[in-house]
Amino acid sequence: MSVTDLSAAQAGARAWAAAAAVPDPEIPVVTVADLGILRAVTLRDGVAVAQVSPTYTGCPAVLAIELAVEAALRDAGFEARVERQLSPPWTTDWITEEGREKLRAYGIAPPAQAANSVRALFGESVVACPRCGSEATEKLSDFGSTPCKAQYRCRDCLEPFDHFKCI
């Protein structure tokens, strides 16, 4: 069914579903909706406008994500535009429960909740090993293969793993 035959609510739902299914280019097991970086999709004068928040200010994936969201909306039959939304700033608290579970299953320890205090940011909170569940882990570096990750190691199963850091 072409978009013009849909009710406004149906068209809005279709646009959201199309944009929400776009995978993150760096961690493709989670979608932009799982990560909470897709803030909204609204229909304005027949154009689907997606609002996307960058994870990190300089995240090189931002442009790729915006292009992918725009392409997904076009594929779903919409004229599309993406707006970058800097404020309020994205926080890892916006990652959905489902997103956290997907990260864990993929081998990335998800961030703790309540990332908004600097205390939690440096959370001496426990990071459990995503493979064996052990809480005997240690940080190797605050910085990892992408801006959003830190490197950890499990002292029980001895595997290194990524931690999606709180921000």
Binding site: P54, Y56, T57, G58, C59, P60, L86, S87, P88, P89, W90, V118, L121, F122, L140, S141, D142, F143, G144, S145, P147, Q151, K165, I167
Partner: protein, 250 residues
């Protein structure tokens, strides 16, 4: 008025781009893999902030200039960054101390900028504030590790303080343009941040067994476009592709 706002935003953007580029120079050369990831990661944060600020400056200026025009098509004399950020990487001690000096300044700066009257600056401040917290922790850990390390590393760290401390004073000076932006509530004042900066740094220096320099000879001039020769070399490398292929896209 709006000219002054544009200039003030460019000063801040240039600080971030120049330091971000300096950090990127470590990519592939850092002493260990973790640092090869950490330094460019911090660089990306800074370049990301610069992009937001250049774009905003271009909007206010209204002449159609964007981030690439500001970054790639201005000469050294048109750059308005402070001298600290353009200092060459030197050794690892100098790179880390330069980072700590800058990050410990930007933390209270961004905190104050949360109250900016400009929505873009305000949004950037909220984001950058979290990122800079990681930069402070990372660089402070290294300053302590090297300062309180071997005789060799301690000597190099002490040398880095001698080399760089004189460039920190400029962080606290507001140019005429910055003063206009401050009066308009767009950017926070600089002089008032010295207390917070010293309070953040002095415990790190103590733990690192470093003496806090009481007497320094302040260096400034970056906000007037008076730079050391190191910036020219850096810009030549950074701008060569964009200038050789005007308007190229990828």
């Amino acid at each position: 008025m709006s000219d002054a706002i544009v200039t003030a935003l460019l000063e801040l953007a240039d600080d971030h781009l120049v330091l971000g580029h300096r950090l990127s120079e470590w990519c592939g050369h850092a002493p260990m893999l973790e640092e090869d990831l950490a330094l460019p990661s911090m660089g990306l944060d800074l370049i990301g902030a610069a992009r937001v600020l250049y774009t905003r400056a271009g909007e206010i200026e209204g002449k159609g200039r964007g981030e690439d025009d500001f970054a790639y098509l201005r000469d050294e004399r048109a750059y308005r960054n402070c001298l600290l950020v353009e200092r060459p990487n030197g050794d690892f001690a100098q790179t880390m101390l330069r980072q700590l000096y800058f990050a410990a300044f930007m933390e209270p700066y961004w905190k104050a900028a949360l109250g900016s009257s400009d929505a873009v600056v305000q949004g950037l401040a909220a984001k950058a504030l979290k990122e800079v917290a990681y930069h402070i922790r990372h660089s402070a850990e290294w300053v302590i590790r090297l300062g309180d390390g071997t005789a060799e590393s301690a000597a190099r760290m002490a040398e880095a303080v001698v080399e760089l401390h004189g460039y920190t004073d400029e962080l606290f000076l507001s140019s005429e343009a910055a003063q206009a932006a401050e009066a308009a509530g767009i950017l926070p004042g600089r002089a008032a941040l010295r207390t917070a900066w010293e309070a953040a740094l002095k415990p790190v220096f103590a733990e690192a067994q470093l003496d806090w320099p009481e007497k320094v000879w302040p260096q400034s001039g970056g906000r007037k476009g008076e730079h050391g020769e190191a910036l020219g070399h850096m810009l030549a490398e950074m701008q060569v592709i964009a200038r050789a292929h005007p308007g190229a896209v990828w």
